[in-house]
């Protein structure tokens, strides 16, 4: 039996989600996992305050070390991100990220669907530089400790996966709810509405991890290639892409999450995704003059 590509990816995402979040029973008592796995980072975005989480969130971990008393630069987390990014690029977003899967399920809620203007995709780079890198290093308390600004002021994954489950099981925490929680709930609601209307709204506009892996898409070992000799510029790949990428023009676009839908729809089998560099006749930068219908 041949499994449809989209279903295969969904199953892969669900398995990755389960591997990252196996401790479901912790939701009941509002506990979080405290084992040794927590010193390792998940490749995708997954709040470490989520009761079910096995690993640390790489963005949270980066801010924690950068904002610590002793260090301003996390060799460990940067090293992990470089390794993940060089190996897989945004394949991680498309196949392994738990919050990516959540967004895809939210997008299934029936409504009219919209496209995102390209300018909004640059916001995530500003968030990466300002909230993840600069603020935890520069804004410190009297002890020299910085706060994880992205987690604190923006991250809707933290509110959804950590905030809501923990606050619902800890009455003592509920007593401390204030303006900050209202801001985060507002951003979560905005993200959910965004995800209903726009495919992977958070990945496209706000995710600093997507920004890092997107920059590494150009050099990642897992990559996309176009066979310029067989491509007939039919435009089917561009039309099916939910990340609004034209794979023929920009095969290794920072927005491409390597979902593989373009390769499946190509009538000429001209799109190849994988680790292996194929023949020399395949180009990664094809100049397309005009699309044929």
């Amino acid at each position: 039996m041949k499994i449809k590509h989209s279903l295969k990816r969904k199953l892969f995402q669900i398995i990755a989600f389960g591997y990252s979040n196996p401790y479901l029973m912790n939701f009941k008592g509002g506990k979080i996992f405290k084992g040794k796995w927590k010193q390792f980072c998940n490749p995708g975005l997954n709040c470490y305050s989520c009761p079910a989480a096995r690993f640390a969130c790489p963005i949270g971990a980066l801010q924690a070390v950068n904002g610590s008393m002793n260090f301003n630069f996390s060799f460990y987390v940067i090293g992990l991100l470089l390794a993940f990014g060089t190996l897989l690029g945004r394949f991680i977003c498309g196949w392994l990220c738990p919050f990516g899967l959540i967004q895809e399920f939210i997008h299934k809620i029936p409504s009219s669907k919209l496209k995102l203007p390209k300018i909004f995709t640059y916001i995530k780079y500003i968030i990466l530089v300002v909230f993840v890198i600069l603020l935890p290093i520069l804004v410190t308390n009297y002890m020299g400790m910085g706060k994880p600004a992205f987690c604190q002021y923006i991250c809707p994954a933290g509110t959804l996966e950590g905030g809501i489950p923990l606050l619902s099981t800890h009455p003592e925490l509920r007593q401390t709810i204030g303006g900050l929680f209202s801001l985060k709930m507002f951003l979560l609601i905005l993200t959910i509405i965004g995800c209903i209307l726009i495919y992977r709204f958070f990945c496209k506009t706000l995710c600093p991890l997507g920004a890092i892996y997107g920059l590494m898409n150009k050099i990642s070992i897992y990559h996309l290639e176009i066979d310029k000799h067989t491509c007939v510029n039919c435009g089917k790949c561009k039309n099916i892409c939910k990340m609004e990428v034209d794979p023929v023009k920009v095969p290794n676009s920072a927005e491409c999450i390597r979902c593989g839908e373009c390769a499946k729809v190509c009538p000429q089998n001209a799109i190849h995704l994988g680790f292996k560099v194929r023949t020399s006749s395949i180009s990664e930068n094809v100049t397309v003059s005009k699309s044929k219908d």
Binding site: I32, F33, K34, K36, K38, Q39, F40, C41, C47, Y48, S49, A53, F55, A56, C57, G60, A61, A64, V65, S68, N70, F71, S74, F75, Y76, V77, I78, G79, L80, L82, A83, T86, L87, K147, P148, C151, Q152, C155, G158, T159, G162, G163, L166, L167, L173, T176, I177, G178, L180, F181, L183, K184, M185, K218, I219, S220, I221, V277, E284
Partner: protein
Amino acid sequence: MENKKKYIVRTTIIIISGVFILYGFVRNETEIVRNKAINICLECIGLG
């Protein structure tokens, strides 16, 4: 980017990332990550 150039860049980054991870382990960054991750992060849940 040409394939050869890309190969050099990838190899260099993989080596750098390996050195970074090892150096991070040596100076105990993993403990900071673990300490943050095993306690409820008040900032993450919107209370911090």
